[in-house]
Symmetry: D2
Subunit: 402 residues, 4 copies
């Protein structure tokens, strides 16, 4: 555990490393958080959940940090307003890094010295804290990408050669013709099967009934999405859910969040381009489309004569023969609202606020993206965002009734 | 059909009758519509869906009405902005009543003279139009109640003695101890069974798997809800979904929408009162609580150590022995997000926008209220509103895992 | 006084007469008020300022009206929120008319029977009340015109033949070449000279120093304003004050408030038209432009190589030989902010809130419009509105340094 | 000139020196700008106004900076939206400092080598640029103070001992009884007298007529303002202008912007404290009150039975015997709206946008504050802010009719 703790914690700093102190301080919208805040909040999580309650004699780094870096845990007291996280120039980045080191020392000491009883209580929370850290590692990338996209010079997070966040083994996709894989029907077991870690929202494992369906064997590509655009996809209300069409009109959406139309003043070119962690590059028509909202995913599916899969269909088809790109490319919007499984109970204590209280108004995404830490996801993993969220690495997989 | 058409159409005018032309003109929030607009829009529905396409020689009452009284049908052209419906002093109420008469004459003529082919096409649309009219009959009541509630003098829609909207056979409830009825488990058939009318969103009929559950045999009463309030229900974040707690704080909610706390300046009294269609009256602790949002329903259930039923549990338990108040008292929030059933397809043509495009961001309510026209609901009927909506006759039924 | 009271009070009803109860109920923006509210508020003014304090035994029509129809007098207690005046369907128009009659009877009785002492106290307040009523008579017209302009059918307040609000002797203007009249310079006396009624904000009379200037002998015409539009006036930031340019961009202004560009969908025509109290009519290029904001007036003046006059220049030039259209056509934006004259003191009591507390953030308009009751204005009269207000009969007179 | 240029430019860096790169990047409200932005914008001013037009062969540091760092000059092209200045983490602070050096080198080279003709054109613009730089030096302090005040830990800009921005000779004020100094009446000359630099808005010099008045010989102290608070000043609408009272209610104002009431959670203490550039300190009742809006200044004056002076009274009384604290303590709100002097003409070219286009909706402040660079102000200097602005070093001087 000590080794795993050290590795995962270090990974956050690697992700922050290409960014200046200025970059790490800003907040470009209230849904996103500064890098520095992520670094501090993930440390606070260990302090508040493990060290404070379980490590006798632990001295907090700074009493005020429990106010500054609590995200949304009502049980753990009042907290700094979310939209003002970008105003926290103090503590400085240097101080936050010291805070991380202080917490890390505390956790390592605790693990080395605690008794059996404390260990039994701490282990699930430490494990939760590391998965929590990994979730924020992805958010560090999605949030800074949004922040950089607000700069008219469109600076890169890091140059392409150094793209440490891309796993070496994920090769560039080549567009093959899309095939429809027939899913298993009848009753299927859904949810975490009990081996290894899972969040509470993946439980209890239960059975659902599935109607006959087929699912695409790969994600929708940028090239396919471009056809949707060129066919007037963003101008045809009949393709959209009502809330989606309202969002298109209110926000002037005409393409995925980080696409640059030809002749965009910020990086003039004759053709479509995409802004990403490596800066602006030509649109790769064979790459999975990403940074689309649920509304756009649903409209695309309607245009394509298909639909989005339910989260149950997705989970059941995870290891179907021929299925590709289920994880490591883009999170995949499902047609399922995020709600509790039958018999769901949140964790006890403050950790009970982790997932359960968000179970309304959001849609489930499955899979995992190129920004997701390797090994962080599972077939039963349930990611969730509001249907209008566009700044995640969120893409589209199609399904159909069989 | 002609007789049924006449009866249902006349019913709308009966509901509008207690209201002055001024009352019928105003719009108190963008979610609500003026009575006059409801009267015109329901007529426009027959004109746009039936008379225009199918009745040769039909002359529209006023060409401009298709712009003014289209609600949300993109396929039928542009329309007056929803938040500005209250600015339409012209056409006057008198003109709108003439419009209704014009459409009614057109429909009755059409029914009397059309050929077999036209009749086959028209019948489902006429039927849909009458169910549509009944839905708006309930909205006439909920919307005017909201409008009147914005008046500091709290005027009554009509005096209690005249309450024609209350069906004679629904007796005042007496609070009996709540009993838990055990639901059927295993696979259950859900959705419209094919006999009689149903909206497209109730189809296709399909099977779901139900985990063991129990459901309360009656609705939560005002007296029980008062206990929740007095136990600090509106001040305890741990009871609330995150979005619900945000709504409580942003809007200062402290009781159901139309409750008046003791000593409210608008109608001073020593105890709790409720504003309703008959004006202000003493809180009836044995009556089902109403005008609560999904957020409040969910928080109450949490406080009560229970949960809300899914729409599938509700539908399956509809005719369980001992179950009461399933319809005719208050719509009942379920824990189910409003989405498509497996294999769902919207109706063809403009009517396809009736239900399907709203299948995101809303919660399903089941049952029917004291304001719902008699005979309008079914066990498979799916009403839906956003989780923060409070101005409907929406109440609470509890469920539990068995 | 009794006769004058009766005449002025009756005039308000004449102005309301073309409007249905529905028309009189709505509020199209928070700056405007419903006709019915104007009718009630002007009655409340007499009740609150005269009858309540001075008429022994006067019984208020309805105690709740002091809450409903107080406009902004903090000293007279809390009041209904301004943006919600349009929700007051009750009291009905009929009840408000009864309220007017009740107050009128009370006032006439009081005038007939009060003693000398009471009369001395009441006379200035009654006089103020009648001038107040006249101000609201103009607002009845400007507010209903705005409300009707929000209806896509653009209904007329009344047909042209019946335009009772147009004074018979004001002939249609003919565009003569504009002449520059040289103003008197040196010290000039400003403010009310003491004979007859004046508001407190016109006092004390005092002297100012005027630099040499010239002032246009007539108002800017619609034809001249059209040249400004056609010369790109609304697209050239260099002509605008910074706040004005921001308003142009935020609101998409491209012409005066009630102008319809050629081919406007609401009333298609090949040329420019104007919506007014008589409905839509062809643009009269010789008529004074109206319904422009201070920002537009200032931009036009800049475009014309001129400027707006100060209120002191305007007042001094009021009766200069050759000067025309000083009153009865359109209020005339001046370059003067609305502030207190040296030595200004508001009236004592509640009437002190009439003018003084608004002396920041507004610009002075002088003159009077075609909607202003005859005899209501004076050379020293100071009207005032925020610089972005466009719904008044507000036009442009140019000035230049000599 | 070269020496003066160097000194003033260096001063900006001295002011920025206590701040980290993170501090210099953030923007806490749209009215304020990041320190880094100030450093870049003031450099851009010399580049855009002098080097670009007049220095042959000057190569801009980065073409994109003319978009990023133009503040509001429409004539100089489009620009980055003001509310998003805080998102510019790139260019980094280091790059901005290099930009400053690049511009400084360019300007010094230009001054050393330009011909007589170029010098005559450049000198007024260089002079303007230095005064512009000094204005931004004060804004650097006011804006960072606001940003730091948003941090719940209330960090100090710099520790008290190092307070380099406080001029050595300004001793701490001791509250003497306030005396009323009688002003000169009759005609008075107003505006810049022609010797030395002045902004265009201080011209032309002209005469005004002054009514008899008296003016307080010192500023209102924090102790006096505390009496206003304790006497219910923020709860008594009769003391406030209408817009001011609306601001009090909408924003919950109950004391000057940076005052901390006793027991404020951010820095608990038993008595009032003030947050300032040196952090939180005890309220000094003898110090001039600062960081109040015009609304608060006017309400205080009303409470004190006095009024605010006009800008003409203030300027005329500048050197009256016995008058103190006219500059160097706090800007002093006047009762004068910011408008053009008779015969005013803005500068030619882009510099014409410096002052003139803001002449509506703002109030004039006179004097100068402890944050104003020494030597930057004059008796004729006209500062201006909207009446609700509170984040400047803005205080109160009283006046009365004599």
């Amino acid at each position: 555990m000590a080794q795993r703790y050290g590795e995962i914690r270090a990974r956050s700093l690697v992700l922050a490393a290409p960014l200046s102190a200025e970059d790490q301080c800003i907040q470009s919208m209230s849904d996103a958080s500064p890098t520095k805040w992520h670094l501090a909040h993930t440390s606070w999580f260990f302090e508040a959940m493990v060290l404070g309650p379980l490590a006798p004699g632990y001295v907090p780094f700074d009493e005020r940090f429990s106010y500054l870096f609590n995200s949304y845990y009502e049980a753990l007291g009042p907290r700094h307003p979310r939209p003002q996280r970008g105003l926290l120039t103090r503590p400085t980045l240097v101080q936050v890094l010291a805070y991380r080191a202080h917490v890390d020392t505390g956790v390592q000491d605790f693990m080395a010295t605690c008794d059996e009883m404390a260990w039994r209580r701490a282990l699930p929370l430490l494990t939760l804290g590391l998965h929590h850290e990994q979730q924020h590692q992805e958010l560090i990338l999605t949030d800074i990408l949004h922040a950089l996209s607000c700069n008219p010079t469109l600076p890169a997070y890091q140059c392409a050669a150094a793209s440490s966040h891309k796993p070496a083994l994920r090769v560039a996709p080549v567009t093959a013709p899309l095939h429809w894989v027939t899913g298993r029907t009848g009753t299927a077991a859904i949810g975490h099967d009990g081996s290894g870690f899972a969040f509470d929202n993946e439980t209890p494992r239960h059975r659902v009934l599935l109607s006959p369906y087929r699912m695409a064997d790969r994600l929708v590509t940028c090239g396919e999405y471009l056809q949707f655009i060129e066919d007037g996809g963003y101008r045809r209300p009949e393709l959209w859910l009502s809330d989606g069409w309202a969002a298109v009109q209110a926000n002037g959406w005409s393409c995925p969040l980080y696409w640059l139309a030809p002749h965009d003043a910020r990086a003039p070119a004759g053709d479509w381009q995409v802004f990403g962690l490596s800066g602006v590059g030509a649109l790769d028509t064979s790459a999975p489309v990403s940074q689309v909202s649920f509304y756009e995913a649903a409209a695309f599916a309607e245009w394509a004569g298909a639909r989005l899969p339910t989260e149950f269909e997705w989970e059941t088809a995870f290891d179907a023969p021929g299925m590709t790109q289920m994880t490591g490319y883009a999170w995949q919007w499902t047609r399922s609202s995020y709600g509790p499984y039958p018999g769901f109970h949140p964790l006890a204590g403050a950790a009970g606020e982790y997932n359960g209280k968000f179970m309304v108004g959001q849609m489930v995404l499955r899979g995992g993206s190129s920004a997701t830490p390797l090994g962080h996801t599972r077939p039963s993993y349930r990611n969730f965002f509001p249907p209008g969220a566009r700044w995640q690495f969120s893409g589209i997989r199609l399904a159909r009734d069989a």
